[in-house]
């Protein structure tokens, strides 16, 4: 919201501060000022001059030589403007002065443009006559300015006086960020009230007085509100014998500063009151209102309506309409109709100030794609009491500015107004909440400055809250008022006392920290991917139709198809990131991610889905399947999962290479999978090399993890090691051999280590050569050959039973 300082000062006349002081102080009391602009920032040494005579330039057809009276002297100015005549009063910037911009109205230079005496085609020129664009404004806000030429003042401008003053440009425009709870501050009066309290000055609201003529409004118009749920108040007044004319300068300037184009006195007054009171108003040409009757009711689905901007709109049955005896004449709170709009020929007018349901207006405006100044105000939920004040203010301005004759009385169709809220409070409770020790006096003064009246009761106070302060509901709100004006910065800084609590992170978070540590030590950097993705991901990952993984939660209003489902597989993120790196020619990239997948328990969603944290790792470049397997085992080791991990090659993961994938099984539970990415998937992601991934399902893993550690003695007795070399049918997995070694090795078995595996020459077709070094040790004695031979025999028997031949 933008407002000129001059407008605020109209209600806080004693306000006297620099723009920066104003910005700081208002921000610290909660009316945040984002920025300000001094309209005269780059306007220097500009006076009102009167053109005494004009002569042609001897050497240039397009230039003229003007003799200009600037009060204390007459100067000669050469100009190319063609809209000036003798006798015109114009802004003149003198030698050494400054203007804000060029005559073309382009972006304004930061430091303005300095003007000096000079010669134009050999003729001296002692200054420059200015266009409105050179003065930093535009025809939008000075509609009387010529399209391309020098600004011309009204005849009563004083020659030699400050032209910037005459244009009302000695002003500063402040841009506010109003918080949504302070509906009252979306108005100049609301902000002025805050400013008065902030600076301890008197707040002087306008005096509203409507004389009215001898007629009764009821003889002109009747109002019927059908859909009372959407319209809690509808006030109507009538103005006749309207004289359309420009509104006064001061009104135009204030509207312009708020970013509203001045049009004519009637339109300007409605806009002025909307800004001043925060209450949108609308004016209908009463002669177009059939039966002189207003009916407020919902539209029908599919109704078509032409708004006053000439656009046809399609309505639905939740949109509230203003109708007359026969037809629709306006979309309530959003925009009036073409059929009833005020034209220059209007003679009798109906003023409307109403209170519509904010949420309904917001939704209707959205469905129509038509958000107006009015709807923006209504959607915040306005105070119904304000409507009557505003319509009276508008009518008093009509009379004051002589724009017409106000018919006496108001048609006011109003639902019973809610009682004013009453808050009981004690100052000690406020001090308790703030951690302060302020006296009753200090608090009451603050309330008083905000026009909040507190009455003493038994042991506390009672405050009747004015209706415009919808935000004040209880003691906490009053505490905020005290804090704002006592000063947030003056409230002490303490630390909470009371019972000590233990700071901690959960076990799950500790495991996740370990995952990050291990990944990092293994060379993986952490990535971050989106939780939502495209349903096309399933095709890219070769996940077949009908696979349960395709049952994803769908967002009803996504940013687009690419962000439309909540992921059920984590791989897309990491593969996309690998592809990004690959295409940017980054070498040997290792990435991991710790984030959720979202598995619905039912679709459509009726209960919270299963959000499962996935530890997803992926790399390309240096390394292979077993590199990734190593990372997985490092992680399991680091979180105390030191039982044997088994790998099932029949993992059935369509996105992985069919011969290079495995489920990771711990204690019978599938904890994830790893493998080489299927070449077709690599193609789909545009990864031009082999890539490897592992996905670990953290909820399952957390269940097995433990940070308990128990020391086992460092062996004192020597170990005995035996090497065996085998010829093994190809289909037998090394894992099966190891399982047999474990099963048969007995309690003296310490470790086994694969030291050779070979296929090819010298080994018969369909077999492979595998060699192990098996280590035995006893904690309490040196082993004998007999001990070891016994254990080895069992192992060898077992292996023999698997069809494995021992190589001698």
């Amino acid at each position: 919201m933008n407002t000129a300082m001059s407008w605020i000062k109209a209600y806080v006349p004693d306000l006297d501060c620099t723009p920066q002081e104003y910005l700081d102080a208002m921000t610290m009391t909660g009316t945040k000022v984002e920025t300000y602009e001094c309209l005269d920032k780059n306007l220097k040494n500009i006076v009102v001059g009167q053109i005494m005579s004009i002569a042609p330039h001897p050497d240039a057809d397009k230039l003229i030589i003007c003799q200009v009276d600037i009060g204390k002297e007459k100067i000669q100015i050469v100009t190319g403007a063609n809209n000036v005549s003798e006798g015109d009063k114009v802004p003149v910037v003198l030698d050494g002065g400054k203007v804000a911009g060029g005559h073309d109205g382009g972006p304004l230079p930061e430091d303005g443009i300095e003007i000096h005496n000079g010669k134009l085609r050999g003729i001296d020129s002692f200054g420059m006559m200015c266009s409105i664009e050179e003065l930093g404004s535009s025809r939008d806000y000075y509609p009387e300015a010529p399209e391309d030429g020098i600004y011309i003042f009204p005849a009563d401008a004083v020659v030699g006086s400050d032209a910037v003053e005459a244009l009302g440009l000695h002003d500063t425009v402040f841009e506010y960020e109003i918080t949504s709870n302070r509906v009252d501050c979306y108005s100049v009066l609301g902000i002025a009230r805050e400013a008065a309290a902030t600076f301890g000055k008197k707040f002087v609201p306008p005096v509203v007085e409507v004389k009215g003529n001898s007629e009764k409004v009821e003889d002109y118009v009747s109002v019927e509100v059908v859909d009372k749920d959407l319209c809690s108040r509808y006030c109507a007044r009538v103005v006749k014998n309207i004289k359309i004319a420009p509104s006064p300068e001061w009104m135009q300037r204030r509207l312009a500063a708020s970013g509203i184009r001045p049009i004519n006195n009637i339109v300007d007054i409605t806009n002025y009151v909307m800004e001043e009171y925060g209450q949108p108003m609308h004016a209908f040409d009463l002669d177009t209102v059939a039966d002189h009757k207003i009916v407020v009711k919902r539209a029908n689905n599919g109704d078509k309506f032409m708004t006053l901007d000439g656009q046809e709109r399609e309505l639905d049955s939740e949109m509230l309409m203003i109708c007359d005896g026969q037809k629709q004449i306006g979309i309530a709170g959003i925009m009036g109709g073409e059929n009833s709009k005020i034209t220059d020929n209007v003679s009798t007018m109906l003023f409307e100030a109403a209170c519509f349901n904010g949420a309904n207006i917001r939704k209707s405006a959205k469905r129509l794609g038509l958000r107006t100044d009015a709807s923006g105000k209504f959607e915040k939920g306005l105070d119904p009491r304000n409507a009557l004040d505003a319509i009276n203010r508008a009518c008093s301005l009509i009379e004051q500015l002589g724009c017409g004759e106000v018919v006496s009385g108001v048609v006011d169709v109003c639902e019973p107004l809610k009682d004013l809220k009453v808050i009981d409070f004690t100052t000690s409770r406020i001090n308790e909440l703030l951690g302060t020790d302020l006296s009753d006096d200090v608090m009451l003064k603050i309330f008083d400055s905000l026009e909040l009246k507190a009455e003493k009761t038994g042991d506390g106070y009672k405050m009747t809250v004015p209706s415009y302060r919808q935000d004040l509901e209880g003691v906490a709100d009053l505490a905020e008022e005290v804090a704002r004006f006592y000063g947030y910065d003056k409230i002490p800084s303490t630390l909470p006392s009371g019972e000590a609590t233990t700071g901690k992170i959960s076990f799950k978070q500790r495991i996740e920290n370990k995952a990050r540590d291990v990944a990092q030590f293994c060379g993986f950097s952490q990535g971050m991917c989106y939780s939502f993705e495209s349903p096309k991901v399933y095709d890219k990952l070769l996940i077949p139709e009908g696979d349960p993984l395709r049952n994803a939660i769908t967002i009803s209003n996504p940013l687009g198809e690419d962000f439309s489902i909540m992921r059920t597989v984590s791989l897309n993120g990491i593969l996309t990131s690998l592809a990004t790196n690959y295409n940017r020619r980054n070498k040997d990239v290792r990435l991991y991610e710790l984030a959720n997948v979202y598995l619905p328990k039912s679709l459509p969603l009726t209960e919270s889905p299963d959000e499962r944290m996935q530890f997803t790792l992926g790399f390309y470049g240096d390394g292979d399947f077993f590199t990734m397997k190593g990372v997985v085992e490092e992680f399991f080791d680091s979180i105390g999962m030191n039982k044997n991990i088994t790998y099932d090659p029949n993992a059935g993961r369509p996105y992985l290479h069919p011969g290079r994938q495995a489920n990771i099984i711990y204690d019978g539970v599938v904890c994830g999978c790893l493998g080489e990415v299927h070449p077709e998937v690599c193609d789909n992601y545009d990864i031009g090399t082999k890539a490897y991934v592992a996905v670990l399902d953290m909820p399952n893993i957390v269940g097995f993890a433990s940070f308990d550690r128990k020391y086992t003695g460092v062996a004192k007795f020597p170990s005995v090691s035996r090497d065996i070399s085998m010829v093994v049918p190809k289909e037998i997995l090394v894992g099966d051999i190891e399982a047999m070694i474990r099963q048969r090795g007995g309690k003296m078995l310490e470790s086994y280590n694969l030291f050779d595996i070979y296929e090819g020459e010298q080994i018969k077709e369909g077999f492979k050569s595998v060699a192990y070094s098996i280590v035995f040790r006893s904690p309490d004695r040196t082993l004998t050959d007999d001990d070891v031979n016994g254990a080895m025999k069992k192992i060898l028997n077992g292996l023999d039973g698997m069809g494995i031949e021992l190589r001698q």
Partner: protein, 339 residues
């Protein structure tokens, strides 16, 4: 005898002098001083010496032995040194050759920021808790005093699944889950991913991260909120950091505030980084709204509390001077390596 000793001595000295290898030297040593060496052999012939001369000859033999041993030791030391020197010379390396790095990975800047914030609050006795990302309307809005038709619930900001479920727009809902458990006092922070319907650009992302904080106890005051968050700011941005609390509005707190920290670039004098104001907006906070306490069955007359919400991306972007939020989700290794 004497001459013989003299001869052995001279012979030994000359052989040592000519010897240039350590291995040869020990051969020579054995030859003269070993069990079967020349000097030992001399001692064997002592029986031929007159008994009265024996002490004298014995002394002479010992002196000779000592002298030869000394020369041997010196020579050996010298040779060993020469050998070591030669080896050192041979093993000179170019120390400016590239290092062999143990290519460790890197944490995401967001995670680093999160861990820093977490550590500060864990140190102050806060528990780190987590809540669901797919949340119900009740926890994300209603229980936080955001009623049904509030503009904050507008579809423009919130991703909806259906009437009941949505993607949480704030981590504040986790507060409610914790409050509902009814265990008081509460000191918690809740880090996590949140979602808002913003198109991706340099300063927006439809998914980002927040850390929510909540303290509920008897006698918690706005002063406690100020003190706690100032402490936090000093830990995160340095002990000289100043803070400024400005009134603001959030539905679930009253009074509410935004906290600015003194610009860590210019120290508060005003620069481009802080747009000349000397302050940088960091977080929103406030005293827990009585309605929020009531809805979670906590008596606002007995208990009070404060809450705050920190945007993690904002902290990461500020701390590391990252100028485009999209970098955080691109996962380019060259970016991630810098943290």
């Amino acid at each position: 005898m004497k001459e013989k000793l003299e001869q052995i001595r001279n012979e030994a000295l000359s052989q040592v002098k000519d010897c240039s290898e350590v291995s040869k030297l020990s051969e020579i040593r054995v030859n003269f001083l070993g069990k079967k060496g020349q000097l030992t052999n001399i001692l064997k012939s002592m029986k031929d010496v007159a008994p009265e001369d024996r002490p004298k000859v014995g002394q002479l033999v010992n002196e000779t032995r000592a002298e030869i041993e000394k020369v041997f030791d010196e020579a050996q030391l010298k040779l060993q040194r020469a050998l070591r020197d030669a080896q050192m010379k041979k093993e000179v390396i170019d120390v400016t050759l590239p290092a062999k790095k143990n290519n460790v990975g890197h944490r995401h800047p967001n995670t680093i920021a999160r861990e820093e914030v977490e550590n500060i609050f864990v140190g102050m006795g806060y528990e780190v808790v987590e809540g669901p990302e797919i949340e119900t309307d009740y926890y994300n809005f209603e229980a936080l005093n955001i009623p049904a038709d509030h503009p904050a619930k507008d579809e423009q900001d919130t991703f909806y699944i259906n009437d009941k479920f949505l993607l949480r727009t704030q981590t504040s809902g986790t507060q409610v889950h914790v409050m509902e458990q009814g265990k008081l006092p509460i000191r918690m922070i809740a880090p996590g991913r949140v979602f808002r319907s913003d198109e991706v650009d340099a300063t927006h992302s439809p998914s980002f991260h927040q850390i929510e904080g909540l303290v509920i106890d008897k006698h918690i005051t706005f002063a406690d909120l100020k003190g706690t968050l100032w402490e936090f700011a000093k830990e995160l941005f340095g002990q000289d950091t100043k803070v400024r609390f400005r009134p603001h509005h959030f539905n679930f707190t009253e009074p509410s505030a935004e906290m600015d920290v003194s610009c860590f670039k210019c120290g508060g004098s005003g620069c481009r980084f802080c747009k000349g104001t000397g302050w940088i907006e960091i977080l929103g906070c406030g005293m827990v709204h009585p309605n929020v306490l009531k809805m979670s069955k906590i008596d606002p007359d007995k208990y009070s509390g404060f809450a705050f919400g920190i945007g993690l991306e904002r902290i990461a972007l500020l701390k590391y001077e990252i100028d485009d939020m999209r970098l955080l989700y691109e996962n380019d290794a060259r970016f991630l390596k810098q943290f």
